[in-house]
Structures are given as C-alpha cells and as structure tokens.
Amino acid sequence: MKREKTYRILGLAILGIVFLFALIGWIHTPYDPDKMNGQTKFLAPCLAHLFGCDQFGRDVFSRVAVGCGTTFLISVAVVSIGAALGTLLGAFSGYIGGAFDRILMRISDIIASFPSIFLALVMIGIIGTGTPNLIVSLGIVFIPTFARVVRSEYVVQKELDYVKHAKLMGTGILRIMFIHILPNCRRSLLSTLTIAFNSAVLAEAGMSFLGLGVQPPTASLGRMLSEAQSNLLRAPWVAIFSGLFILFAVLGFGLLAASFSERS
C-alpha cells in the first residue's frame, strides 16, 4: 500500500514536470527554438538561457520544451494505434477463441520474444524513416502487447455469469464484447497503457537518436542528444538536459506502471 502510493505520487509529479515543459513548447517558448545565433554559441547556462545554448547558439530550454511536446504527441499517437488495434484483436481472439485465437497468440508469442527496439527497427526498415512512418511503425509494434492483455481478460470474463445472462437475453455479440466486457478490463488496460507509454517514449527517443525518427529541423530530445555528442566537452549541458528529460518521461511512466503492479 505504502509502496504503491509512493510510486504513484513520484511518477505523477515527474510526469507533471515533463507535461509542463510540453505545454511551454506548444504555447510559447522564450526563444525561437530553431533560430541560430552566432553570439550565443556554446553559451553556458545563465539567467537569460537557463539550460544554455548549443553549437548553433540555439536556446536549449526552448528546444527541450518543444522536444518534450514532440515526444509527447508521438507517444500518444503510437500508444493510441497500439491500444485500439490491440484491444480489437485481443477482444475477438479471447471471446471467439478457436483456431483464430491459437494462431494469433502463437504469432504474438514470437513477436514478444524480440526487444521492442529491434521490432521498431525492422518496421522502419520496411516502411521508411520520418515522423509519420515512425508513428505507424511503433504503433504496430505495440499491438501484441495490448492484444495479449485484453485477450487474457476476455478469456476469463466470457465465462462469468453477467456475460451468460446477457447472451440469454439475446444481446448482440459486439455489444457484449465492447459495452459489457470491455469496461471491466479497465484496470489491466490502464496498467498496460503506462507500460506502453514507458516503452514508446524510449523507442521514439532511440529512433530519433539513431537518425531514423524525427527529422531535422524539428526539435526532438533524442535528436538533440545525438547532436550534443560531438560537443560533449564544450557544451555538456545540451546532452545533460535533453537526456534528463527523456529519463524523466520514461521514469514517470515506469513508476506509474510499478504502482499498478504493486496493487495487484
């Protein structure tokens, strides 16, 4: 109980900070995040530039804020695709069962044995680089995660009395599946959502770091980190702040996921 609460409060607080930065990035940044300035090149953190400036004199604070926004939007899109399609597949697989179920679960077992960063790379290899492709690739990668969780819920739920009663009353199969059963899966869905967000943020940052995700000039945390690498001694703050915010986002969702797993 105590542990669950500590994790949840810490997780929400950390995510609050990241979300605040994302809001700043969407609404108003103190400086133009893409504007280069020869005079502020490699400027150390100071009052005017809280996080310092990068090798082109761009304000790191503004870029981190925009990067948080980008990361946030991409993760939401990715998890939405994965959750929607995964839930749909898992629901049919669990409720109908039979050969369809066996084949689907066999496939998702195999997929689950590969690390998500590798699957994302394969998908990007097929579809191509760039932000829209990144969203589709990562979204597909997360489908099995949701499908497995939802399927196992449906296998249990469909044997319960309320479902049998609904069937006797002649309720349609789709109505039973999505109006009656789905709301009862909310707890495991919620905990899967936090895990998915945790991996989605990490995967987005990783792909952008490798140069296969968000393309310049759009500011992205992973991209900033890889650009900062060549100037580690002259301007370590670029790497520190962009890396720290990736860490925050991943940690926030990780703590939330841990609080859910403590509860069960």
Binding site: I110, L121, Q229
Partner: protein
C-alpha cells in the same frame, strides 16, 4: 529427446515464416530493381529484358525459394549501398558484435548475481521503497544516454579510453578488450539491475514455501536456509530471464555501437535502414532472429531439465 527435436523443428519453422514475411514486405516496398538499375532513359523493352534476367517476373514464392536456398548456403546477395556481397560485409562485423555481447553478458552476471543474492536477505519496508525507486531510475536511463555519460566521464574527463578509438581484438587483444569494456558497461548496467530485481523477487517468492518452514523448524540458521535451500530453487526462473537478457543485449548493442563508434552489426543495420539496403537488412534481421529464438529454445529445454515439474507444453 522428442521434446528437443520438436523444439528444433518449431525453431526452423518460425525462422522460415519470419523470413518469408519480411522478404515479402521488402519486395512490396522495394520498387522496381530493374528500373532503378537502368535509369529513366531505358526503353520498356530493356527494362522488361532485365526484369526477366533478374528473375523479377517470377512468382513471389519462387523468388523467396531462390533467396532461401542462397541464404542457407550463406549467400544473401549483394549490398546496394556498398559494392560487396552481404556475406563479406557482415563477416567481420558479426565477430565484433558477438565479442561486445559476450563481454556485456559477463559483466551482467558479475554485477547482478552477487548483488542480487547478497541483497535478497535484507528486507525492510523503507529500504525496499528506496531500492525500488533507485531500481526504477536505473532501468529508466536510456541506454544511449548512459553511453554518452560513460563517454563523457570515463573517456573525456578521466581519459580512461579514447572515444571512437576502436581497436580490433584480433589486432591487439589487450587494447581491444580495454576499449570494448566501456560500451559493454553501458549495455550491462541497466540489465544487471533488472537481474538484481528479478533475483530478489524470486527469492521473496520462495519464502512462503513449505520446505523453507521445515528447514527453519529443524534448526537451520537463517543464512543457511537462505543460501543453501532457497537459492537453488530461486535461481531456476532466473534462467528464463536470461534468455530475455540475451535478446536485450543484442538489441542494446544496436544503439550502443552507434554511440561508441563500434563497427558492429548494429551500426551496419542502422546505416542500411537509412539507405534502404534491403538485402543487408534482411540478413541482419534473420541473424538476430536466429540468436533470439535459439536462446529461447535452449532456455526452454534447460528449464525442463532443471525443473522436471514444468510441463512440456
């Protein structure tokens, strides 16, 4: 024995299905190889002739069969980005990645096992929360961020190694190990902490078992029960966990090779994806799939040998 044979059969089946799916997907997005080879000025007849010559007009299953029969002999065609065969391109790089992975796995065991076992005896609520939060932080560190941090601290500030100064192991063994140690450390640290958490959880799960109570009631000391009786049973599930770690280490090296400038298979994969060099991507995907699926199959068999209660299905 029958069980092992079945496992091997399933393994090969999975590999064939997997490679077929990726092959078809690549064929679909690749565009016309004949057209790109001849350029826009080629006449329709020329393109058609080359298509026939390259075998592009054949049914997809025929083309896959041709690729597969080459692949089992180690022939994966030519790289479109480098003027080399995929086999030549990959040979040295596989060695480098395997060496990096081996050192990483060694480090994971060296760090994770002793700390995990030693700390599993100590349990308190406050300590557990602190350890749990710390563990979450370590697991949340993106591998590339950790890599950059190690480059900065050990490479630039402390000057323990030259960033980007890769030395091949076969050229100079001592220097090579010296350099590979740092990227391996970047891969190993988060996984070692996962291992520690797993051992602690596994030991905690043993605590409520009947045999533990029996051993205690016979007058065995706390430490003896912990390390003599419980440890053996608690370490069995760790073996399954290790299959996952093997997969994660190879995935981790894709990113870490990029950070440290290690000329391995991961770096080749990233370059090939950026350049849409499909023959190389396909070969690397298959290579990693072989490693991951083999690790899983071996662990399943080992698990069965160590704990015969586990059913075969």
């Amino acid at each position: 024995m029958k069980y092992v044979a079945k496992k091997i059969l399933v393994l090969f089946g999975t590999l064939v299905v997997l490679s077929f799916l990726v092959f078809v997907a690549f064929q679909a997005v690749k565009g016309d190889a004949a057209l790109s080879q001849l350029g826009d000025n080629a006449t329709k007849e020329q393109v058609e002739a080359l298509r026939e010559e390259l075998g592009l007009n054949d049914f997809i299953l025929v083309r896959y069969g041709r690729w597969l029969s080459g692949a089992v002999r180690g022939d994966f065609g030519n790289s479109s980005n480098y003027s080399m065969t995929v086999k030549e391109l990959m040979r040295d790089k596989i060695t480098v990645t395997v060496q990096l992975a081996m050192i990483s796995l060694g480090l994971i065991l060296l760090i994770g096992l002793p700390i995990g076992i030693a700390s599993s005896g100590i349990r308190s609520t406050a300590g557990d929360i602190a350890a749990g939060v710390f563990n979450q932080i370590v697991m949340a560190i993106p591998p590339f961020f950790l890599g950059i941090f190690i480059t900065w601290l050990c490479g630039l500030v402390l000057a323990w190694f030259t960033p980007g100064g890769y030395v091949s192991l076969s050229e100079n063994f001592k220097e090579g190990i010296h350099f590979l140690f740092f990227p391996a450390l970047a891969i190993a640290i988060p996984k070692a902490f996962m291992l520690i958490k797993f051992i602690r959880d596994s030991m905690a799960g043993q605590k409520s078992m009947g045999y533990v109570r029996t051993a205690r009631s016979k007058g065995n000391s706390h430490g003896r029960v912990l390390y003599k009786h419980m440890l053996k049973n608690a370490l069995i599930p760790v073996i399954t966990f290790f299959a996952m770690i093997v997969a994660e280490v190879f995935a981790g090296s894709i990113v870490i090779e990029q950070v440290f400038g290690v000329p391995g298979i991961g770096r080749l994969l990233v370059v090939s994806i950026a350049n849409r060099d499909f023959n190389v991507i396909l070969a690397i995907v298959l290579y990693i799939a072989v490693i991951v699926l083999t690790a899983n199959a071996v662990v399943d068999v080992l698990y069965h040998i160590l704990d015969p209660r586990v059913s075969l299905e």
